[in-house]
Amino acid sequence: MTPALETIGLTHHFGAFCATDSVSLSLPPGARHALIGPNGAGKTTLVNLLTGVLRPGAGRILLAGEEVTGLAQDRRVRRGLSRTFQINQLFPEMTPLQSVSLAVSRRLGRDGAWWRRLGHGGAVAEEAAEILGRFGLSDAMGRRVGDLPYGRQRLLEVALAIAARPRVLLLDEPAAGVPEAEREDILAAVAALPREVAVLLIEHDMDLVFRFAERITVLVAGAMLMEGTPAEVAADPRVRAVYLGEGGHD
């Protein structure tokens, strides 16, 4: 089967510093894949390469078997690649409803229309409401995004990425900084993602990783240390040394 997302020898340098070192990943459709590694391992850089924020110095990126290595960000999104950000990237002055409605309009190819109001016809509003409901944001849809508590902003991050109806979703530490009480909401939202979407989850919380992932890739200093099932990763002495050594996971 053609992988939903594949990279071949992806490499990127910041100056002389090698942040991504010949990474070859492959996610089948519907994958539940985790990417772990210590701080500064190059996880976010990899997401930026995959989405087109950064251009790789070498290597290729294939989306559903098609080369997207040189494609602009928005074109990749239209081909079914969507992401969330480790640090919130939202529209603070808009409401969640306005933000998600714009994202839905974009997916429907209507974001360039200038003669009809946002949400004309009602279908966009309905879909936006449905998405917001899925993330427990219904009661906050009319509030200013910048005024929402951090945990709910995190949920909106994921909701915006989902509104593009991706085939591949990259989640960059979706629960980072979320207070314990609200963490479960994020975990539930991640667990409830549509099964056919291939998900690459970056996360430091090992409980979450081992609950979620079917396969795990360990990244160290920009390079893949290993890849395997959660059990294989947990049992690997090298992984324990560089990453799990701090506490371990059984």
Binding site: E93, L118, E126
Partner: protein, 330 residues
């Protein structure tokens, strides 16, 4: 008992586009001003021109977030295009308006790649530079533009083939207000459309906008082009109602005035340009009659005061025109 979320969502989005009573009141007042002050027709026309220029600048600056110090380039281009056309026998004012706006739009489209190339500072320099180049060209090609003496011999025909422009400027004022209103309707549509929202999104966070799949560059080029075209219409309008074009349509002062108007009224909402233009022009009128020599001093002082007070202040005073919960529109 609360409404279903779908219903709430539909209502909230529809509510964004609804005309508020304060908006209707604003336009009724504009109409009233036209009939109540017939002896100030020239001033009214001038306010309308400045308001239209400010609206076009707001689309570029307030909505799309493109910093510019040279928006007068398009205003001046439109003024000279319409002026030269009228001086060479192309007398129909509406055609002249379309010519001024259309060619300014093309100029904007051609200039956009240059302007959008760099960051904010680059944009300031490039826009300023382009406007300066045009100003110098207009100064140089005296055969076409009249140079420093201004463009002579404009002959603007009757409006719609019926209404001759009168010396008191009544037709001119009505014409200017009508064009302003039509342009406002167009911009209101744009501001409330998905395209308008994508501009707000790009201004607020281009990284996320791109991550949603919005083609950021294409949107900015479109906004810049539309803004340029409308500035061209404003310039053409000024040329036609005053039957004269001088070099100051391309001056830095003209660009700066547009920014000042938006600073007074507030950027990123259409009534900001309208209210700002009224306040700016009335103040200029008042100050220049009180202290003919020093009115610019007071405008400058006001500018500093506005910035120090925080420019949200005057905006808050006239918040009635805004939608209370959904602040970003129109």
């Amino acid at each position: 008992m609360t409404a279903a979320p779908e219903e709430t969502a539909r209502r909230q989005l529809a509510g964004l586009a609804r005309w508020r009573p304060a908006e209707i009141a604003f336009w009724v007042l504009v109409l009233a001003a036209y009939f109540l002050f017939p002896q100030r027709a020239a001033l009214i026309a001038e306010v309308a021109v400045i308001a239209l220029f400010a609206l076009s600048l707001d689309l570029v600056l307030g909505y799309a977030g493109i910093l510019t110090l040279g928006h007068a380039a398009f205003f001046g281009w439109g003024a000279y295009a319409a002026g030269i056309a009228a001086a060479r026998g192309w007398e129909d004012p509406v055609l002249g308006l379309l010519l001024g706006g259309g060619t300014a739009g093309v100029l904007g489209l051609l200039g956009a790649p240059l302007v959008l190339r760099g960051g904010d500072l680059t944009r300031l320099m490039v826009t300023l530079g382009l406007a300066t180049v045009l100003h110098e060209l207009a100064n140089r090609f005296t055969g076409l533009t009249g140079g420093a003496d201004g463009l002579q011999g404009m002959n603007v025909g009757p409006l719609l083939g019926k209404f001759e422009f009168d010396l008191e400027g009544h037709v001119g004022a009505a014409y200017a207000l009508a064009v302003l209103f039509l342009a406002f309707l167009l911009l209101r549509r744009i501001a409330l459309s998905p395209f308008g929202w994508s501009l707000r999104a790009i201004r607020a966070n281009p990284l996320r906008a791109a991550a949603l799949g919005i083609p950021v560059r294409r949107r900015l080029v479109a906004a810049y082009t539309i803004g340029a075209a409308l500035a061209g219409v404003a310039g053409a309008l000024l040329a036609q109602v005053t039957q004269f074009v001088s070099l100051d349509v391309l001056s830095f002062q003209r660009s700066a005035d547009g920014l000042l108007v938006l600073l007074i009224g507030g950027v990123g909402w259409l009534y900001g340009g309208l209210v700002g233009a009224v306040v700016f022009k009335l103040m200029q009128d008042l100050l220049s009659s009180l202290t003919p020599q020093y009115w610019q001093f007071w405008i400058g002082a006001l500018l500093v005061a506005l910035v120090l007070l925080g420019r949200d202040r005057p905006r808050a005073w006239i918040a009635g025109l805004r939608r209370p919960a959904e602040r970003a529109a129109p």
